[in-house]
Symmetry: C2
Subunit: 131 residues, 2 copies
């Protein structure tokens, strides 16, 4: 079972009060002054734990992927195996206009769906049956 941890709460607060969608390193740097013994490993462990719990949201993967299909189009990524596939969904230029504001120059957008791919879905199913 999960236990209370001072570190975890501070890490959560650091993410919550930051406006910059911090990386693990940023959280670590922000907390270091008040928690000199804090370790980066602990930050990573807790961030992932909270993300899995649904208490935080993790953005972006950590491996670059490449696509030779240039016209803007949506993608779908399997949250289990990381596979990425194309999706036939029209690009909506109206969104670009909506997004403009606050001094940003918008050049386009990336629409990525999350889901479970057929392969992983089948595995999940048989895992459940196994119990």
């Amino acid at each position: 079972m999960q236990r209370f941890s001072q570190q975890r709460e501070r890490i959560y607060e650091a993410v919550r009060t930051s406006m910059e969608h911090p990386t693990a390193q940023m959280v670590y740097d922000a907390l270091r002054p008040e928690m000199p013994r804090l370790s980066l490993g602990t930050v990573y462990r807790n961030l992932h734990q909270m993300a899995q719990e649904g208490r935080l949201r993790e953005l972006e993967g950590s491996v670059a992927r490449f696509d030779a299909v240039l016209p803007p189009h949506a993608h779908i990524r399997c949250v289990r195996c990381g596979q990425v596939a194309d999706l036939a969904l029209p690009y909506d230029p109206a969104l670009d206009r909506e997004a403009v504001g606050g001094g940003w120059a918008v050049t386009g957008y990336e629409l990525v769906f999350n889901g479970v791919c057929p392969t992983c879905g089948a595995e999940q199913l048989s895992e459940n049956q196994r119990v």
Copy 2:
């Protein structure tokens, strides 16, 4: 000026003919059998060069970022400095339904705009003036 390179063309073909939005490692593995002397560094160099040229598209960054705002909302990322900010844009659940198909179980989507943040925009401006 840029020159023709056998390696670059093969790398491009590997990405183009793959349906899986390959990582650099995947491209490397795919080409290794026919090009045993190929180096991973070359794959990275060429992928980035082609992405910059606009011949390929690069998906996802390579640093994880975290967000404590759970309700689905859009983000905007600066293509120059990597900063990420929130965007007030309504989540459109209709998209989830549209995306379903091909055996995927869709759980949601992530909408990330690309653009240049106010700070980097100002820098770019002064760079241009400098010329």
